[in-house]
Symmetry: C2
Amino acid sequence: MLVLITYDVSTTDSEGRRRLSRIAKKCVDYGQRVQNSVFECLLDAAQFKKLQLELEAMIDKKTDSLRFYNLGDNYKSKVQHVGTKASYDMGDPLIL
Amino acid sequence: MLVLITYDVSTTDSEGRRRLSRIAKKCVDYGQRVQNSVFECLLDAAQFKKLQLELEAMIDKKTDSLRFYNLGDNYKSKVQHVGTKASYDMGDPLIL
């Protein structure tokens, strides 16, 4: 299935910026970054559950949020992109 | 149908910041902001097409991007949220 992961992480302090970097790296382990805070991951049910638990453990639930959208197996007709296709360098600091 | 709209807008100059503000306001006309650059809109096919055309006309395709995800009518089981549920004030300047 295609799982879309989006996140908002508070980056008002250095700990927040570290969380953001860790979360982005974890998502890249499982999928592709398509926008600054949007990842698409092809996962089976077990991988999805594992990634959810790993990401939930990384955020500060008082200030950050994660959203997961399950687009199923027949996802190709459901996704449209317009505009630039940026490539993201995971080594760069990410500011949202 | 539930349509998820995500965007990356380059805000390195004031024109980019204006585009970002205009795009966010347009999305709010049609739906709900769930994260900083993520909107969920309940639309019929005609509304979806109209919104797509309006947003496409607003971005700079060399630097910005839009993604549209159609989650269909049976979307409730497909969406999961973890963490804070921020409320966004459209009057605030938005920095991504």
